[in-house]
C-alpha cells in the first residue's frame, strides 16, 4: 500500500516538474514549427532574463511580480535579438547554419549574464510560501500547484491564440505550407519575429516559475532549460504541440522516478539515454512520426 502511495506521490511530483518542461518544449516547438529550425540559445535567452531580474532583485529589492515581468520582458527581447541575428538573415539556407549560429549566441548571452552576476548561486524570489497541502496520503506544495495551474492556463491560451486569432492563423499557415503563406500575402518576417517573441515570453514565464520554486538561479540554468525543453520536444515529436506537452509530462515523471530510485547522475543518464534511443529508434517521438515518414518518403522518391 505504501509502495503505491510512494509511486503516486512521485508521479505527482514528476508531473509538476513536467508541466514546466512542457512549457519550455512548447516554446521550442512553436519556433521549430514556423522556421523548421532549432533555436539552441532559447535557454540562454531565458537565463539572461532571469539574471537581469535577479540582479535587480539583489540590488533594488524587487518583489516577485516585477521580477516575473522583467524576466519575461528581457527573455522576449533576447528572443527577438536571436531571431534577427541567427534566423532572419539565414532564411532559405541550410538548417545547420542557424543551429550553429544560435549556439554562438548562446555563449554570448550566457557570458553577458555571468558578467552581471558572477557568483555561482544567486537568490531568486519565491512565488509563495505555505505548508504543503495534504490531500489524503499525498502532499502537494502550493507553489508547485500554482505552477501547474499557470502552465495549464498558458497552454490553453497558446492553443486558443493559434486557433482563434489572425496572427495564430498566419503562424499555422506558415508552419504547414510556407509556399502558400507567401502566395496569400502573409508577412513572413513579422510572423517569424512574432513567433520568436511569443515563444520566448512563454519560456520566460516558465523560467520564472521554475526558478521561483528553486529560490535560486545558477549559470547552469541556460543549458538546463535548453536541454529539458529539447528532450521533452523530441520525446513528444518534433513540431507537434500536443506532443510537446505530453513529452514534457513524460520526461518529468520518468526523471522523478529515476531520481528517487537511482540518484541524480542516473537521472541525467536516463534522460539523455531516452533522447538517444528515441532518436535512433523512433525519430518522430510520440506524435511526430507522420512528419518524419513524409520526409523519408519524399527522400526515397527522389
Amino acid at each position: 500500500m505504501s509502495l503505491l502511495v510512494d509511486f503516486v506521490q512521485t508521479t505527482l511530483d514528476g508531473s509538476m516538474a513536467g508541466s514546466a518542461y512542457a512549457l519550455l518544449a512548447l516554446g521550442f516547438t512553436l519556433m521549430f514549427g514556423v522556421m523548421r529550425r532549432l533555436n539552441l540559445s532559447f535557454g540562454a535567452a531565458l537565463m539572461l532574463g532571469a539574471y537581469v531580474a535577479a540582479w535587480l532583485h539583489l540590488n533594488a529589492g524587487l518583489g516577485a511580480l516585477p521580477v516575473a515581468i522583467l524576466t519575461v520582458a528581457v527573455a522576449t527581447l533576447a528572443g527577438v535579438y536571436i531571431e534577427r541575428l541567427c534566423f532572419a538573415p539565414l532564411r532559405g539556407r541550410d538548417a545547420v547554419a542557424s543551429l550553429v549560429s544560435s549556439f554562438a549566441v548562446w555563449m554570448q548571452l550566457e557570458e553577458l549574464a555571468t558578467l552581471m552576476l558572477p557568483r555561482h548561486t544567486n537568490a531568486f524570489p519565491g512565488l509563495m510560501d505555505g505548508d504543503p497541502l495534504l490531500i489524503g496520503p499525498f502532499q502537494l506544495r502550493p507553489d508547485q500547484l500554482a505552477m501547474l495551474a499557470i502552465a495549464v492556463a498558458l497552454m490553453a491560451v497558446v492553443w486558443l491564440g493559434l486557433r482563434r486569432t489572425r496572427a495564430g492563423l498566419a503562424l499555422r499557415v506558415l508552419a504547414d505550407q510556407p509556399g502558400a503563406a507567401i502566395a496569400v500575402g502573409i508577412d513572413i518576417r513579422t510572423t517569424a519575429l512574432l513567433t520568436f517573441a511569443v515563444a520566448s515570453a512563454l519560456g520566460g514565464l516558465a523560467a520564472f516559475l521554475i526558478l521561483a520554486g528553486d529560490r535560486q538561479v545558477t549559470p547552469m540554468f541556460g543549458m538546463w532549460a535548453t536541454m529539458k525543453g529539447l528532450i521533452a520536444m523530441m520525446l513528444g515529436g518534433l513540431g507537434s504541440l500536443p506532443g510537446a506537452v505530453a513529452g514534457g509530462l513524460l520526461l518529468g515523471v520518468i526523471e522523478a522516478h529515476a531520481q528517487l530510485r537511482l540518484g541524480p547522475q542516473a537521472r541525467d543518464l536516463i534522460a539523455y539515454g531516452l533522447l538517444f534511443v528515441c532518436l535512433v529508434w523512433r525519430p518522430g517521438g510520440l506524435f511526430g512520426q507522420t512528419l518524419v515518414d513524409t520526409e523519408a518518403t519524399a527522400r526515397a522518391r527522389l
Binding site: L38, L85, C86, P89, L90, R93, D94, A95, V96, A97, L99, V100, S101, F103, A104, V105, W106, M107, Q108, E110, E111, L112, L115, M223, L230, M234, L238, Q265, D268, L269, Y272, G273, L275, F276, L279, V280, P283, E295, R299, L302
Partner: protein, 305 residues
C-alpha cells in the same frame, strides 16, 4: 619563445584535432555536436594505457585513436540514417551520455604506493609518461604540430583521391551522389570513423601534455567550439579548422584585450561570419581559385607547347 607562448601554441595544436574531426564530418554534410566524446574517450584510453597498463606512449596514442574510431563507427552505424537536425541532436545526446558515463567510471590501481587511474568526477591525474620521458615544452610543441601537420596533409591528399571526391559529392548533395552510384552510407561511416580517430588521437595528446583530465572538460562547449572552428576557418580545406582554432585560442583567449568577454566576441564573430561567409574564410571557391593560380603556372607549358 616564452613558456606562455609555447603552451598556447601546443594548446591550439591539440584542440585543432577536435576541430579537424568535426570538419571531416562537415565535408560529408553531417553536423556533429558530439566529437568531444571521442576526444574524451581517446584521452581516457591513452591515459589508462600509460598509467594503469604501463604501455609506452607510442602505443597509447594509436590505441586512443583506435578507440575513438571504433566508438565513432558504432555511433555512426546507429545515427547516420538520421537526417540533419536529428543527427546533430543524437550525436549531442551520445556525447553527454559519454560524459556522464566517464563521471561514473572508476578504474583505480596502485603505482609506487600511490593510487592512480580515473576516479569519476574527481578526474584522472598524474598522467606523466611524457614528462618521465623527459620531453621539454619545445619537444611537446613539435610532437603536437608534427602529428597535426601530418593529419592535415593526409586529409588534403585524400581530397585528390577517388575517396575524397566521393566524400565531397555526398556533402554537396547526397541524393545526386547516390544517383551517381556512390554508396552514401559507406562514405559517411568511413568519414565518421576517420573523424573519431582524429579526435581520439588529439585526446591522447591532450591527456599526456596536460597530465590531468576530468569529465567536465569534454562537455558540449568543446564540441561546439570544434564545430565552429571548421565553420569559421572554412570548409574548403583541412587547414580551415586549424585557422579557426588559431583565431579563437590565439587571438581571443590568449590576448588580454577580451578578458571576461571572450565568449561575447567569439559568439558574435561566429554569428556574423555565418551570415557573410556561409562556408568559412577558406571556403571551396577560394581554395579552387588559389589552386588554379598555382596550376596555371605548372600546366601552361605542356598544354600549349
Amino acid at each position: 619563445m616564452s613558456d606562455a607562448a609555447l603552451s598556447v601554441l601546443t594548446n591550439i595544436g591539440m584542440i585543432s584535432f577536435v576541430g579537424l574531426s568535426a570538419w571531416v564530418l562537415l565535408t560529408v554534410g553531417c553536423v556533429s555536436f558530439g566529437q568531444q566524446a571521442f576526444f574524451g574517450l581517446g584521452a581516457y584510453t591513452a591515459g589508462i594505457a600509460t598509467v594503469v597498463w604501463q604501455l609506452p606512449l607510442a602505443l597509447a596514442l594509436p590505441l586512443g585513436a583506435a578507440i575513438g574510431a571504433g566508438a565513432a563507427a558504432v555511433l555512426g552505424l546507429a545515427t547516420l540514417r538520421l537526417h540533419g537536425l536529428y543527427f546533430s541532436i543524437a550525436t549531442f545526446a551520445f556525447a553527454e551520455l559519454c560524459r556522464i558515463g566517464i563521471e561514473l567510471f572508476r578504474y583505480r590501481t596502485t603505482r609506487d604506493g600511490q593510487p592512480v587511474g580515473p576516479d569519476g568526477v574527481e578526474g584522472f591525474g598524474d598522467i606523466r609518461a611524457v614528462f618521465e620521458a623527459g620531453l621539454q615544452p619545445v619537444d611537446q610543441l613539435m610532437l603536437v604540430w608534427f602529428l597535426l601537420t601530418a593529419a592535415v596533409a593526409v586529409l588534403i591528399g585524400l581530397e585528390r583521391t577517388r575517396h575524397g571526391i566521393r566524400a565531397r559529392m555526398v556533402g554537396e548533395d547526397s541524393v545526386a551522389a547516390a544517383l551517381h552510384g556512390v554508396d552514401v552510407a559507406r562514405v559517411k561511416l568511413a568519414a565518421a570513423a576517420l573523424a573519431g580517430a582524429l579526435a581520439g588521437l588529439g585526446g591522447g595528446l591532450y591527456a599526456h601534455l596536460t597530465t590531468y583530465i576530468e569529465p567536465r572538460l569534454f562537455d558540449a562547449m568543446l564540441g561546439v567550439h570544434a564545430l565552429a572552428y571548421g565553420l569559421i576557418g572554412g570548409l574548403g580545406t583541412a587547414i580551415g579548422p586549424v585557422l579557426g582554432a588559431v583565431l579563437d585560442i590565439g587571438l581571443l583567449e590568449s590576448t588580454r584585450i577580451f578578458v571576461g568577454t571572450r565568449m561575447i566576441v567569439f559568439g558574435g564573430l561566429v554569428a556574423v561570419l555565418i551570415i557573410l561567409r556561409p562556408r568559412g574564410i577558406l571556403d571551396e571557391a577560394l581554395v579552387r581559385r588559389s589552386a588554379c593560380l598555382f596550376r596555371r603556372h605548372a600546366d601552361a607549358r605542356p598544354r600549349h607547347g
